[in-house]
């Protein structure tokens, strides 16, 4: 278009004319970086020997980018970059605040650990089928979901991570995996379609898809628009994504079927993206509706916890037991969202970040146990302690962490959640939280007793050496939970600030609309 033919239109009203600063690029860089590397790996599909090295370097870069982004946000507040220079609410905005950046950083750490673990876990056929490109595209979807500031864009990133998760889940094409993928695929597709339904209504009501714009307009429309219906639809859609009771049964059906590293990635990332979206929508966009739905959320959270721990107690398969523990963790986070306030929301965010690290590490441990004991069933697994003392010690620490015992990272969010529940007088919710922690201790304690402590046929073998690429990521994640448990102050302070930013999104809005809200 020649500029001389349209002189009368003032572009500054609709376009950002100043070039973005270097810091602003950090907001989109995680997504762009992952997509570029994913494309590069696809182009190198005949050269699969190089895939792991490129992926690990790429994921290290992603951790660095996310850490820089978090530092920048801690210093200067939320950051926004708009696509194609179109100003919101017309253009799609990527907006990163503390919550999004924290989740993105922990997700990148988990992915890096999984990338290293995959060296020993993914064989040549897995590489040929594209494990590494799918992993990078999955990370692009996850990072995009955490950093976008536009609700339809959130839907698109959900789909990106969903299609790559399908690919990762069927990797290997065993009967069990196909069965698991059928259930995972159909139920997750229904959940994302519900999300799209809610987004269609949202657009019909608000006429905008930008989250900052919606947060501002919700107040004025509260008396006339069916916002409760919208909030209910979003809760159902994201609850299904996060495997909350009663829409959780796809998770134990599918999470134990793929390769160990894929299970670990999914346990760390996918349900947490659903939880993040729920926090973002319910706390930031519809705070009044969240307040009204708090009893429903609390009951759903309690039942999720109870179903999770009882399911874990009833399982004899190591990985299926862990699948139920993922569900129990989701219940605790839902309880935090239901309670609300800085304690509840802060506790929910902390619990989610802790759960990402610990569940991934526990799935790694299950993979190593299966390698050492040649079985996944705790009926036949025995004597792992004899075979590898260091591994058994790391596993015991993770069992403590997932049960919420000190001095590990699970302790603090549990304290925050119980205290927040007691502060608003929901003593029964606090009781359920403590009961779930107690039953988790029994489930993991029995796991440790049977699979590690008990003497058995498997114990006769010699001490088996483990490759450093499997033990390393496990040890690193366990160390991280220990450090976060012993010295939680910096993270706690950041999380309190993140929760405050969600409760009062004025800084978020100012970063999207620096000129003031449009009329």
């Amino acid at each position: 278009m020649a500029a001389s033919t349209a002189p009368s239109v003032d572009l500054s009203a609709a376009l950002v004319l100043a070039p973005p600063t270097a810091a602003e690029w950090l907001v989109v860089l995680p997504v762009a970086w992952c997509l570029t590397l994913g494309a590069l790996l696809v182009m190198m599909r005949r050269n699969i020997g190089l895939h792991p090295a490129i992926t690990i370097v790429g994921l290290t870069g992603l951790v660095g980018i996310d850490a820089l982004l978090l530092l920048e946000i801690m210093r200067n507040g939320p950051m926004t970059m708009v696509m194609g220079r179109w100003l919101p609410p017309f253009g799609i905005a990527f907006t990163a605040d503390l919550t999004g950046a924290l989740f993105a950083l922990v997700a990148a750490l988990v992915a890096l650990a999984a990338g290293i673990f995959s060296i020993a876990d993914i064989n040549d056929s897995g590489r040929r089928y594209g494990f590494y490109p799918l992993l990078m595209v999955l990370m692009a979807g996850v990072s995009g979901a955490f950093l976008t500031g536009d609700i339809f864009n959130l839907y698109v990133w959900f789909e990106v991570l969903l299609i790559s998760s399908f690919g990762l889940l069927v990797l290997g094409s065993e009967h069990e995996q196909i069965d698991g993928t059928v259930k995972y695929g159909f139920l997750n597709l229904v959940a994302t379609t519900l999300f799209l339904v809610a987004t269609g209504y949202l657009y019909a009501i608000f006429g905008t898809l930008n989250m900052a714009d919606i947060a501002r307009k919700a107040e004025g429309l509260r008396s006339s628009a069916p916002l409760m219906t919208l909030a209910g639809l979003y809760t159902l859609a994201f609850g299904m994504k996060a495997a909350a009771f009663p829409v959780n049964f796809w998770l134990p059906a599918s999470y134990h079927t793929p390769r160990v590293v894929v299970s670990a990635l999914f346990a760390g990332l996918l349900t947490k993206v659903g939880i993040y979206a729920l926090i973002r929508v319910m706390v930031m966009l519809f705070p009044v509706e969240r307040e009204e739905m708090s009893l429903l959320l609390a009951v759903a959270g309690s039942l999720t916890m109870i179903v999770g721990v009882l399911g874990a107690l009833a399982q004899s398969d190591f990985r299926r037991l862990l699948g139920f523990l993922v569900i129990a963790g989701i219940g605790s986070i839902l309880a935090g969202i239901a309670v609300g306030g800085p304690g509840g929301i802060g506790g929910a965010i902390f619990y989610a970040l802790h759960s990402m690290l610990v569940m991934t590490a526990l799935y790694f441990a299950s993979g190593i146990a299966m390698r050492l004991g040649a079985s996944a069933s705790i009926v036949t697994l025995a004597g792992l302690y004899r075979r590898h003392v260091g591994f058994a010690a790391l596993s015991l620490m993770l069992c403590f962490a997932v049960s919420g015992l000190p001095p590990f990272s699970g302790f603090w969010p549990k304290v925050m959640l119980v205290k927040a529940a007691l502060d608003i007088g929901a003593w029964w919710l606090a009781a359920v939280l403590l009961l779930a922690g107690f039953l988790t201790t029994i489930a993991t304690g029995r796991l440790f007793l049977l699979a590690y402590w008990r003497d058995g046929a498997a114990a006769v073998g010699e001490t088996a050496p483990l490759p450093a690429s499997t033990l390393g990521p496990l040890a690193a994640l366990t160390l991280l939970t220990l450090v976060l448990g012993l010295y939680p102050e910096p993270l706690l302070a950041t999380i309190q600030e993140a929760a405050a930013g969600l409760a009062d999104p004025s800084a978020y809005g100012e970063s999207v609309f620096p000129e003031g809200w449009p009329q």
Partner: protein, 125 residues
């Protein structure tokens, strides 16, 4: 015209939910396809329904002269169509493969990942 569209969307959702409650994968798959179209129509209706008025701005004007079709829902639907079509294709291949490998398309009989009579965990040792 919105009322008729709303009714049509309702019919689509009913058909989709009915099909998805079946235990045979192929019917669930058809339900998913209908569901995708139901949502697309819903977004379309949620925008603005106007017949035969293209949103074209005249050469000497800066804004639209009158009410016209809203272009944004159509862009959203276009995205949703592409995504739902690719998912449908994936699930179709997956269902065929499941039928081929597991030799059933009845979800009640698909219990490879979750066997019916699994042993309970030992109570002691």
């Amino acid at each position: 015209m919105e009322a008729w569209f709303a009714l049509l969307v309702g019919v689509f959702f009913t058909v989709a939910v009915y099909l998805m409650l079946s235990k045979f994968i192929i019917r669930v798959l058809l339900g998913v396809a209908v569901l995708g179209n139901a949502v697309n129509l819903l977004i379309f209706t949620g925008g603005r329904l106007t017949r035969e008025v293209p949103p074209v701005i005249a050469g000497d004007a800066e804004v639209l002269a009158g009410p016209a079709a809203n272009a944004l829902p159509q862009a959203l639907i276009l995205t949703a169509i592409v995504i739902s079509f690719s998912f449908f294709a994936f699930l179709l291949v997956l269902s065929w493969r499941a039928y081929d490998d597991l030799e059933t398309d009845n979800t009640d009989e698909m219990r490879v990942a979750e066997p019916m009579n699994e042993p309970a965990p030992p109570l002691g040792y």
